[in-house]
Amino acid sequence: MSATAVREIEFRDALREAMSEEMRRDPKVFLLGEEVAEYDGAYKVSKGMLAEFGPRRIIDTPISENGFAGLGIGAAMMGLRPIVEFMSWSFSLVAADQILNNAPKMLYMSGGQFGCPIVFRGNDGAGGQLGSTHSWCVESLYANVPGLKMAIPSNPYDAKGLLKTAIRDADPVFFLESERMLSMKGEVPEEEYLIPFGQAAIRRTGEDCTIVSFGRPVHFAMEAAETLAAEDGIECEVIDGRTIRPLDLDTIVASVRKTNRCVVVDQSWSFASVGSEVAAQISEHCFDDLDNHVHRVHADDVPAPYASNLEQEMLPNPRKIRSAVLSACYRA
């Protein structure tokens, strides 16, 4: 990074810069989705892109996820590099056959004849009183499928660097953003950079307990870690996974070998989840290093409530994380 003062931009601007830079760099890249063109994006992520790139590359689609996801996959198979925006990942469920049954399997099913270099991106997660059906955290559901990659940035810097990597990747990438973070500001340098997949970031170092998280809950983990340090004298090491597939197990294992305790924070439900996968991997690789079983903090095992107070209580939050760390350290 250069020594010049780093500017701050919003998460949504970082996403747009990543897409625009890649579209300038590679004429095969294009964006399609609901309201991405004329309306500048339902969340203004693609603001101004229609004006720069024109209607052939910034394409408004009907409300038909199964249709335009399939269109994107076909284009990717023929060598283009589509970015498919889901207004919410909750809406991707109607395109499940395309995104789960076709995109990740195409390379295998065609015996290597057709790859599928496509990015599916959109808002993931609850937290805005959107009701059960529009509050999906799809990471655990989708990460189960081999053949796809999954990135889940927690800040504007990572959003840009990871999305550029996603667009250049040869495989389908599921890129999970958060409506709750789109206005978050963060330092993003002017000059180009990419963040490779499979490299977690250690957001805070500590000796007593490792907290592994992904996406928005990383901020809850950081908040809990500061409280634990101030109130309980427990120093947590907070790891931001950045990508779920591939998973940077090396960083996680090295940290747990140091701290001997681990809490995994995953905003999806606990059963057969990213959190349970990380816990299983830690048990496998760090068994003799563990001082307690891996503790997990998930969304509660219920559909997301509409009521704001219930919704906040259902999701992972700093209080739940602190409580889990205290328990993992036998301090509960």
Binding site: N260, F287, D288, D289, L290, D291, N292, Y330
Partner: protein, 436 residues
């Protein structure tokens, strides 16, 4: 078929080993005799070979990790029957393989079996977190002696750390000794200690150094030596001018043959030859009897460089009384070089009957050494220093070396040690005798 590789017992005293380096990775093909890993034992870093052809299917213990002898460290697939039973239950197939073709696993380390035995005997299953169990094994803490603070009495890391701390505190009674002596002394000591602490707090930060296997062995063996052997020392001055003159002549004459004798080579040879008349110097205390050794095997202490983690090893020059100076010189040089680069094998460091520690190259005048069990004596040599000496009643300038024997009084009495030193002095002051 899966062949299990377990941590081998590479020396008699080895209880655990550290994988310093894997030379293979999962998926690599290996042939019988290939060196697959470097293993650090309590004595040295050694090469681990495989005895079967196959493919490395799994590396269980990563580099840098220490595990007990007999622990599974890797799995090799020899390619047989793998098509016939592709998804056979792992437990049965590996168990069958280990009895059929893998070398039998060595008996578990005594320390480990003690604590596991204790765990089984403690009535209801003892609950211990994995890292607490590992820490207890590493520090030889009996888990049965610890009360667990976790749920259902689970022994957790904090409990073992507490037990280690208590033991350390219990094993170090210096405060009581200080209060027992006259008052001003501890007061002064306390002042020094306090000011030192203040200084270091203001200056360079302290740090911790993890113990290598070698450092642990040095610590254990030397504490054992000092605690169990009644040491005493005897010193002589030896006129080294004759050795220095002979060495200069021989090295000049044999330079074309690559001979470069060191002063230490003469000392090794001298010590070995001196044993012929003094069998008790080449002996071991065995509790209910004394063993007089037939072979004269001289251990030579070699310091390792800080870059290689420092430490000290003692390669053995076997049958040094029957080897020429040239032979001793070459062998010493080769062993010291190997110790400093590749590391010595356990065999190259075992069976010494007497040890020499030489700090002459550092200009040291005089020091005493700690006996290297099961030896009964060790010789500490200073430098051959140029100094005023009296020769035949006349003051002259000559080279003298102080040689100090540390002796095990259970085996060797003062007069015996003094007599041996007299023989050594005589040999080194008339070094032509060392040539035949």
């Amino acid at each position: 078929m899966a062949i299990e590789l377990t941590m081998p017992r590479l020396s008699d005293t080895m209880e655990s080993g550290t994988i310093i380096k894997w030379n293979v990775k999962e998926g690599d093909a290996v042939s019988a005799g290939d060196v697959v890993a470097d293993v650090e034992t309590d004595k040295a870093t050694m090469e681990m070979q495989v005895y079967d052809d196959g493919t490395v299917s799994r590396i269980v213990v990563p580099e840098g990790k220490t595990v007990a002898v007999g622990t599974l460290i890797a799995v090799i697939d020899d390619g047989e029957e793998s098509a016939a039973a592709p998804a056979a239950p792992a437990a049965t197939s590996t168990a069958a393989a280990s009895t059929a073709s893998a070398p039998p696993p060595a008996a578990p380390a005594p320390a480990a079996s003690v604590s596991r035995g204790a765990a089984i005997d403690a009535g209801p299953r003892m609950r211990v977190s994995p890292v607490a169990r590992r820490l207890a094994d590493e520090h030889r803490i009996d888990l049965a002696s610890i009360e667990g603070s976790g749920p259902a009495g689970r022994i957790v890391k904090q409990d073992v750390l507490g037990a280690i701390e208590n033991r350390t505190a219990a094993a170090a009674p210096p405060t009581r000794i200080e209060t027992a002596v006259a008052l001003p002394v501890p007061a002064a000591r306390a002042g020094i200690a306090a000011s030192t602490t203040a200084l270091s707090a203001a200056g360079r930060p302290g740090s911790e150094v993890a113990l290598s296997g070698m450092r642990q062995t040095i610590a254990r063996r030397l504490v054992e030596s000092k605690n169990t052997i009644p040491h005493y020392q005897v010193t002589v001055r030896i006129d080294m001018d004759p050795v220095l003159a002979l060495r200069k002549d021989l090295n000049a004459q044999l330079a074309t043959q690559g001979v470069k004798l060191s002063v230490n080579d003469f000392i090794v040879r001298g010590c070995a030859v001196a044993m012929a008349e003094h069998p008790f110097m080449n002996a071991s205390w065995a509790g209910d009897r004394i063993l007089l050794h037939g072979a004269v095997n001289i251990g030579v202490a070699v310091a390792l460089s800080a870059e290689r983690g420092g430490g000290l090893v003692v390669p053995t020059i076997r049958d040094a009384d029957r080897k020429s100076l040239r032979w001793i010189s070459e062998e010493t040089r080769e062993l010291a070089e190997k110790a400093r680069t590749k590391g010595l094998s356990a065999e190259e460091m075992s069976d010494s009957t007497f040890t020499i520690s030489n700090l002459g190259m550092f200009g040291v005048e005089h020091f005493t050494a700690v006996i290297n069990p099961p030896n009964s004596a060790i010789l500490a040599c200073g430098a051959a220093l140029e100094q005023p000496v009296v020769r035949n009643g006349v003051l002259a300038v000559g080279h003298e070396m102080q040689a100090t024997l540390s002796l095990d009084h259970r085996v060797i009495d003062g007069a015996m040690g003094a007599a041996w030193l007299g023989t050594l002095k005589d040999l080194l002051e008339h070094p032509a005798t060392l040539l035949v």
